[in-house]
């Protein structure tokens, strides 16, 4: 009977990072793209205290019929991390054969920068040991697109290549969710992220 637990019919994406990095916009775009593609979707996120520079997690599931909004540990098909330390913190969410897409950026938490806790000395090595790891310099791509604040959308572009959602649905979602004045630069960032993985 064990095959009926945590059905493989759902496609699970966990998105993690630091408050203020644009994780919620990213998961919005993913959830909209999945809905545009005709899937049932659940997007679950925790805000509140996490807005003040804390660790943030958002989870998106899509498929024919989605029940639980929470992805079971170890069942994410893709883990997207906006920061390296957060990637390590949430690595256990990913399936053994998952894609682990990590923005190549380190933001020291206050516990480390103020000396209360030691940094992870072998951070790079631990990440490098992970199968399915894809390090992406999203900040450089955002700079190339013309606006540093589009780093999250560059990650969306990269994420798009690992999902069964056709590109047109992503583009529609982007149009729905991004203000028209910033649409062109975000479309460019999406394209750069998409091509970086192709």
């Amino acid at each position: 009977m064990s095959e009926s637990i945590f059905p493989a019919t759902a496609f699970n994406v966990s998105l993690v990072g630091v408050g203020g990095q644009g994780i919620l916009l990213t998961s919005d775009i993913l959830a909209l793209a999945a809905m545009n593609a005709g899937y049932d979707v659940k997007k679950s996120e925790i805000h509140g205290m996490s807005q003040r520079g804390g660790s943030v997690i958002s989870q998106v599931r899509f498929g024919e019929k989605i029940y639980s909004p929470i992805i079971p540990d170890g069942a994410s098909d893709v883990l997207v991390s906006f920061e390296r330390l957060e990637a390590l913190r949430w690595l256990h969410l990913a399936k053994p054969d998952a894609k682990v897409l990590v923005n190549n950026l380190n933001l020291a938490p206050i516990t480390v920068s103020s000396g209360q806790q030691p940094p992870v000395a072998d951070e790079q090595a631990r990440l490098a040991a992970r199968t399915g790891l894809l390090l992406l310099d999203a900040v450089s791509l955002a700079r190339e697109a013309g606006n540093l604040r589009t780093a999250n959308v560059a990650l969306v572009g990269a994420l798009a290549t690992f999902t069964p959602i056709a590109k047109e649905h992503w583009q529609t979602a982007l149009q729905t969710r991004v203000p028209s004045t910033f649409l062109a630069v975000n479309q460019k960032a999406f394209e750069l992220g998409y091509r970086a993985m192709s």
Binding site: I5, S44, R89, Q116
Partner: protein, 592 residues
Amino acid sequence: MSEKRLLSANEAIAQAAYCADCRVAAAYPGTPSTEVMENIARFHGEINCEWSVNEKVAMEIAIGASLAGVRSLVAMKHVGLNVAMDPLMTFTHMGAVGGMVIINADDPGMHSSQNEQDNRSLAKFARCLLFEPSDSQEAFDMTVAAFELSEKFHVPAIVRTTTRTAHTSTVVDTGDCQRGAVEPIAYVKDPQRNVAIPAFARRMRFSVEKRMEALRELSEASAFNRAEPGEGDVGIVTSGVAYSYVKEVFPDIPVFKVGLCFPPPLEKIRAFAAPLQRLVVVEESDPVLAEQIRAAGIPALEPKTELRMMELNPSRLATLREELLGTTPPVAAPPQSGIPIRPPVLCAGCSHRGPFYILSKLKATVCGDIGCYTLGSAAPLSGMDTCVCMGASIGSAIGMRKAFGPDKRIAAVIGDSTFFHSGITGMLDAAYNKVPVAILVLDNRITAMTGHQENPGSGHTLLGEISTEVRVADLARACGIQHVREVEAYDLAVLEAAFKEALDCGEPAVVVVRGPCVLHAGYRGGAALTVDEDACTACGACFRLGCPAIIRGADKDGTGKRFKSHIDPQACIGCTLCAQVCRFNAISPLPE
């Protein structure tokens, strides 16, 4: 037009209120309920809506509107309902006229709350109707139904969400919006019905029990309460978001879904249980349904798997499945070890940082309160001794003074919105009873923690209209406080002098610390600061401010023990507190 949209339960509830002809809505912000009112505000031309001063007032506004014959809504987080219970408990005696819906958001697992409480018990206590949606579609459908049934049965109806439903977006079909279909009910002055004095209230009390009989029949007939067939002789009764975990982990067994939760459909559940060998109730938080089911003589087993505290999730239910059916749960890799925590912090340049630094320095006993400034309790500021509930700082400081006697420095620290919510009465008590406590109001002119909602001190209403800007100092003087001072947040010497004076003056004192929220107002003190590495002695004084812009710099002597500081110029907004605490003049503004 029928239309599929991706909505959170909070957004779906706002849409439902509009479609169900709600005309008056009031709320006090509180995670995870805040977005209900923010979304209702989009319909402000047709729904008269406001941020109320607190949940009790919001509840009373909804009650008044209902008694006037229109449909009304009030929204709050779980602890908000504690504040609003007084009017609710009597209103349930009188009963609604226009349909009245209470949106109550519980926070299992305490993502952003001071306690865990299951408010389904309060629905039972108050004898209200209670709906428990599992997703946004149900939040929409149940809110529409709650308005109708509240009006039909003259009973306030609670829609109980949780953090997980309130903040999960799911696909919602809002159907054809029927706005305009329901007219207000003509107002009739009826003291026997609407004046709760003993003679009338006794009669009301009997009508409550009669109403309960009708509600029990309603629950038995409701389509929100349904059995879903499955295989085997183990069945599960479940409700709310727990239903979604049950369907995920037990897709094969019979499930009874309770959507209209109070009063529960006990006869339907009895029929569901009859052919089963074992019945288990899976509900998030307290055994509210389980106890009622057992009290009705329906045997429900008590699983060994712990399901009572904190949020449920599929992994916890997989453990339950192992207990019930012997299925081996999937094994996930353990989390990485040695990952430093990343707690939320006061922002770089936050106007609350200076006050906590000074309070630590003055070794005051600090009774704190609810808001962003509760983050001042964390190391390295460590500026708080207690934090109970909204407004409790002042009352508990008074109690501490009475317990400790005169020789201790005792401060109450409270933000502006919390002060207006329920700090004023505590202050009045200190003035009236002449209790020497220092009441420090950290006034950033906004309700910051929940995402910048307007309040009586901000000068604007929910809809952004200009309003009276209440001054805390004026209120303090009006309440009879003689020692009232107003200071700016960013001069540590001024703060220290004002706090010392207030703590040591031997009478009730109020100090208003003024400084706008840096996130909201886009405040900049000036140029970003920088550290002169040659002048820095690695003394660590600036690190004790707990500012996220101050990061560890060079190792002073190569021993890995003492580090010079470095300031992130992107994060620094130039508040200069670090320059003020540096005794070696090592920190100065970057040239513009």
